[in-house]
């Protein structure tokens, strides 16, 4: 279990408060959260909760059967004797065809086994990206959990963050809870500050994810089979086996 998975449950209430505050109160004009909201297209709380629900372990495990299969392709070739013991034009034709088939199956990076290994490396890369993104968001979340902004939001009475369209200020005023607690503007600023901190970490993950996608584009395409050129018609059409 990584840090984000451990923090998800204790952070749930704060994350929901951040989103409700942003939904109902918005954020000040010119606040750094605005370009991040536009870039990410998601509220910080829902993004973090959904990210915490991903399962990076199953992603890492996905590479294992591909590598096993790549090894099986190589091992399969070891069972074949080739055409070393045979003579004649037909034996040579078989040998050439077998070499082409064997090379396509398991000879180096440009083979089917190489393609499987490359695909396994791809999913390793994606798993690494997801783990790094989760870690970066988790570190940001850990900082937020102990922040004064978090304390400001937690101090709000539940009714002050009425769901949806009621509006933070309206909900705040309805509870009649001024006094020692922070006012609506400080709550809005707190939510925007926490949201920007979380979204910034997520935006870095987004940048790296896009770069990862571009880096692998076209590298895992289907490998075309290149048969051996058709040989000249053999004078001898029989295989000659060693006596």
């Amino acid at each position: 279990m990584d840090l984000l998975a451990r923090l998800a449950a204790p952070a749930q209430d704060l994350l929901e408060r951040v989103d409700r505050a942003l939904l109902t109160g918005g954020a000040p004009a010119g606040h750094p959260i605005w370009p991040l909201l536009r870039r990410l297209g998601a509220l910080p709380g829902e993004l973090v909760i959904e990210l915490a629900a991903t399962t990076p372990e199953s992603l890492r495990a996905a590479a294992d059967p591909l590598r096993e299969l790549a090894r099986a392709y190589v091992d399969g070739l070891d069972l074949m004797p080739g055409a070393a013991g045979w003579r004649g034009d037909a034996a040579e034709a078989f040998g050439a065809q077998w070499r082409a088939l064997a090379a396509h199956l398991a000879d180096g990076a440009d083979s089917m086994a190489g393609g499987l290994t490359g695909t396994a490396s791809y999913v390793d890369d994606v798993a690494g990206w997801l783990a790094a993104t989760r870690d970066a968001v988790a570190v940001a979340l850990a900082r937020c959990l102990g922040s004064t902004e978090a304390a400001t939001l937690r101090a709000l009475p539940a009714g002050a963050l009425g769901s949806g369209v009621a509006g933070l200020a309206g909900g705040w005023l309805a509870t009649g809870a001024p006094g020692a607690m922070a006012g609506p503007r400080s709550a809005i600023l707190a939510a925007a500050g926490i949201g920007a901190h979380l979204l910034r970490a997520a935006a870095d993950g987004l940048d790296h994810g896009e770069a990862l996608h571009s880096r692998w584009a076209g590298r895992l395409d289907e490998l075309p089979y290149r048969p051996t050129p058709a040989p000249a018609p053999p004078a001898d059409t029989h295989l000659a086996l060693p006596s």
Partner: protein, 101 residues
Amino acid sequence: MELEEVAGRVDRLAADVTGAAARLAHADPGSRAFAGDGPGALFAVGRDLHDQWSAALAAREREAAAHGARLAELGDRLRWAADGYRAAEDAAHRRHRPEVT
């Protein structure tokens, strides 16, 4: 090694490679594992990465299915050659066998 034994080994390899295509079809942990199931651009990238993975897996499946068929065809041709070789040997034996009166 006898020609028929080689044909048998090629057949088994063909079956293994063809079977790999079916195994690959079950190797996908799903879009959620790629962070492809959520709101906004981050999860859209997760979906793109899952699409890239799905396309790669499908390519590996097609490669395995096509190459399994090529190997099976080679096995058939070897067996056909072995049958022809055996028939030729039998005919030669019959020609040289002393006639029984």
